[in-house]
Amino acid sequence: MPNKENNLKKLLQVFSFKKYCQEYKVGIWECPPVVFSIMGVVIIFSILVTYFIGQVYADPLVLILIICGVTITLLILSFIILNSFERIARASKDKSEFISIMSHQLRNPLSSIKWQLDLLLNKDLNPTGETGRQALLSIDEQNERMVGLVNDLLETSRMENDSIVLTKTEFSLVSLIKDIMSKYAERATSSNIELIFSPSDNEITMSSDKSKIAAVITHFLDNAMRYSPNGGKISISVDKKEGKIKFSIADEGVGISEKDEKMIFKKFFRGTDSKKYKSDGLGVGLYLIKSIISALGGQVSFSSIEGKGSTFWFILPIK
């Protein structure tokens, strides 16, 4: 008996369309097995109806109309099936592209760490003093880069599953921006990039999720640094008006092409020329920024001129 029950369970599992649809992240009415089953039922039903109507009326016009109606229904269903297959295929392509980008992004810091460790372990070169220290600092930096990548991925997954947790506290936005900027000071100096911060008021405080706002500002600054040329300028400003805060960051970088403008807040989207510039980044920074700012009840936007630079800003309620 238990064997029979198991077989029945297995059989029912085959027809568990809901599970299948959830797995491929398509709606129940777009799910190929569901639409195929409906198509099957429609075909059987229409054959039976056509047979019985043919028996009763025996009028060719009625039969032709029925057949036309059934054909149109089947065409619509086939179109839905094709569409859903296309969506599944696109999702699969996105997934392989993501794996490729992700493995490449992890490989960069990993190869750097491997080479630095090789240097430290090389008896012939025997790096001591400043050279050894620089190698260790570089390993630390690359390790942080990998931690950042993995954290961004986890955050993206949380956003997708709507499991983001917001904790509001009161904090000074000006101090937070200054703290984040100080972490980039060395990188800015080595790339000869000028970082400018001009708050309208030194005492701008707000009540929001400090760590999430910090993540947003860090992503903005990171992007601006990545796409800024040597000798470029990055200007940050904050302004308080009518119970709202406006943060903006302007760079003199490569800008965003018209073609890319509509896509930049999409998950895993990377600019068409991103390979030509610095390759770091998974293409989730702006997606995370938009998701966080929306979750906090704000808006985010940008303006850009290709080849001249971009300005991004967000507006958030003070409380």
Binding site: S100, H104, R107, N108, L110, S111, S112, K114, W115, Q116, D118, L119, N122, D124, L125, Q134, S138, K275, K276, Y277, K278, S279
Partner: protein, 123 residues
Amino acid sequence: MEKKKILFVEDEKRLHNILTPLLEKSGYEVFDAYDGEIGLKILDEQKPDLILLDLILPKKDGFDFLESLKEKPEKKDIPVIILTNLEEKYDIEKALSYGIRAYLVKTNYRPTEVVEKIEEILK
């Protein structure tokens, strides 16, 4: 005997800091370039015996570099080793179509192994 010259085109300074001293220790003269444009500028002035080239580079990427190299009749036969983290079939096939001598993936090679590969090609 004159030292053999190597043009090393790579945007990560820390990789230059490791590999360049190793190559110099092995008796090579190294020209460091941090983007494709500088690499080509050096190539205008020098005739290296070998080019060590990354694919993802600022300004002009590795493929643009290879395209420009192909157009220089005196220098188009200089052996090129690709040193990259890209390992897509498309990238490898495209690089091989330019007649490169080796395609090395950074994570799979130690700096000393890269030097060995260079020595093997320049033998």
